[in-house]
Amino acid sequence: MSMRRISFGDAIREAIDEEMARDSQVFMIGEDIGAAGSVFKIFTGLQDTYGPERIIDSPISEAGIAGIGVGAAITGMRPIVDIMFGDFTTMVMDQMVNQAAKTHYMSGGKLTVPMVLRTTMGAGRASAAQHSQSLHAWLSHVPGVKVVAPSTPRDAKGLLKSAIRDDNPVAFFEDKMMYAWPGEVPDTEYLIPLGKGDIKREGQDITIVATSSMVHESLSAAETLASLGIAAEVVDPRTVSPLDTELLIASARKTSRALVVDEGCQQYGVTGEIASVIADGAFYYLDAPVKRMGAMDVPVPFAPSLETVTIPDAAGIVEMAKSLCGKA
């Protein structure tokens, strides 16, 4: 299949562009997404194509636009609600959790909420504590919402298209550090199913489960580990919820060692769920405890000298993997 090289941000825009072109029910609402093309400049030109009626610049009303998304979704539209920073999902939790996630169930299956909540995650830009969080664990705790955290342009595009077509509320987390990162995407249309993980690198010695940008830290760690004679398998769940447990467990059973890396805070976060799923499902195959590497349990500090230490990185992953493999 012939491929093109585009950035993660372009992949997001292409997915929205293609879905808006094929389905008039799809529209997007958010702050500064129209003329400004979003603060991350990934939507430049989109409003020219679809007009201000389908690419809607909203007031700074996160809770309100989430509610508007729910109302539009249950009445025949497929809204994409853009929440500029993941840190502001703190303001849409009621609409997402008490309304979007429960409407289908509470109505006994009558109403559906085909809505996508797009937002960002990830630290590393010296944006400090209120613009650097990775809060995808919260919505993953909520039945009725699906949660996606892609790591590559290809996955991002295919998964976002699937999310827009999905009849459930889907929260889509994009690491803002990756918008400019390039990657290969197929020239022709494709979809990537929600709920299916992907093995980003095969290996026999240890399983490294990583999400979003942590996949790249893990892949570079895997390179280093290879040079040390450790073959790491890097598994990307891609969809955080529902989780592709079979894939993760099978890999851990094969390698007998597992490490889980995610950029959300470690305490009560994504790594806890995944680690406990593996520790249970692969119990009789494990040669070492399943280890976790989440972000340090502190608010993200502004000073780069402090911020960098809070995020899991390749070097730390290498160290942890080595000790798990008894090579420390």
């Binding site: 909203s58 509610g67 508007i68 729910v70 249950i74 009445t75 539209m77 109505s107 459930n168």
Partner: protein, 328 residues
């Protein structure tokens, strides 16, 4: 005489009788719901609409079946006024598989898309932006549907309402905000929770706002007709404050009501009852024979009894359904 002075249409016995029947049906439904609770047949608790019938009936009488409403925790009246069926409602209140939500929603979450009811809601103020979303959806789909958001005076405390009104006005959405001001939010008189004038809260967003006697169904109908026509004609959102009173407790378990006086309750019931009001108009102005109304009441009472008995005899959803409808 309720409709005098409001310059309403010339008396139309047919139409008035229908309004009377609808209000009476709601009152009987609620009496029966209370009875089912007291007799221990209903799980949980429920919030009765008794005393406020003219609001839901007056407003919904000017709506089309394909218009939308969003409702509240005190939602039975809205549901019935929009055309819901007695049996499926009782069945839902009793947690039976035949209920509108297969027993999964209960009193606080009845939804019925067939009659445009997007759902009762357990979150005060939660549905105000959902209604705006339904209005936006109608606009984007190019229909002339209108969305009505029913909410209590307590919802005036929720920021969500203001975010919703701001956007509804900015985008001229076909939304009618109906504030059911029954003077209390749970056990707190609303002069303790509302600063300033209620109508100013809407006018601040340049939204047409008016107040009406919520105990006079003809007055409510006339006001709603005007504002709904406006919205349907693309002239934007409006706000209608209906002054009303709940005769009973905040919920069926609230029987002592130390927060208000028996005198106050009596005054409302005896001097401003919406049913008695209309009954008087019917006899005085349309020369309708009281016997006609008595007969009508008899029929409605029988309907109610039959629907309730049938619901009592209906089966609860099997435990196997618990996992259904989490995802569409």
């Amino acid at each position: 005489m309720a409709n005098e002075g409001n310059g309403g249409p010339p008396p139309d016995a047919e139409a008035w009788l229908e309004l009377y029947e609808r209000m009476f049906r709601i009152r009987c439904f609620e009496e029966k719901a209370n009875d089912l609770y007291v007799r221990g047949h209903m799980p949980g608790i429920t919030h009765l609409y008794i005393g406020e019938e003219a609001v839901a009936v007056g407003v919904c009488s000017v709506l089309r079946p394909d218009d939308y409403i969003t409702s509240t925790h005190r939602g039975h009246g809205h549901c019935l006024a929009k055309g819901a069926d007695l049996y499926h409602m009782f069945a839902e209140l009793l947690g039976r598989a035949d209920g509108y939500c297969r027993g999964k929603g209960g009193s606080m979450h009845i939804a019925d898309q067939d009659t445009g009811n997007l759902g009762a809601n357990g979150i005060v103020g939660g549905s105000t932006s959902i209604a705006a979303g339904a209005g936006l959806s109608a606009k984007l789909r190019g229909t002339d549907q209108v969305a009505v958001a029913f909410f209590g005076d307590g919802a005036l405390g929720q920021g969500q309402l203001y975010e919703s009104m701001n956007m509804a006005r900015l985008w001229r959405l076909p939304v009618l905000y109906v504030c059911e001001n029954n003077l209390y939010g749970e056990y707190t008189p609303n002069d303790q929770t509302i600063a300033g004038e209620i109508l100013d809260r809407a006018r601040a967003f340049d939204i047409a706002a008016q107040e009406v006697d919520g105990q006079n169904v003809l007055a409510v109908q006339q006001a709603a007709q005007h504002l709904v026509d406006r919205a349907r004609a693309g002239q934007g959102p409006a706000f209608l404050q209906c002054t009303t009173y709940r005769y009973r407790g905040h919920h069926v378990g609230d029987v002592d009501r130390p927060y208000r006086s028996p005198e106050e309750e009596r005054a409302w019931e005896q001097n401003r009852d919406p049913l008695r009001n209309l009954r008087q108009d019917l006899t005085a102005q349309t020369r309708t024979d009281p016997a006609v109304m008595d007969q009508l009441e008899g029929q409605v009472q029988t309907e109610i009894e039959d629907a309730a008995d049938q619901a009592l005899a209906a089966a609860a959803p099997p435990a196997t359904e618990v996992g259904l409808h989490v995802y569409a």
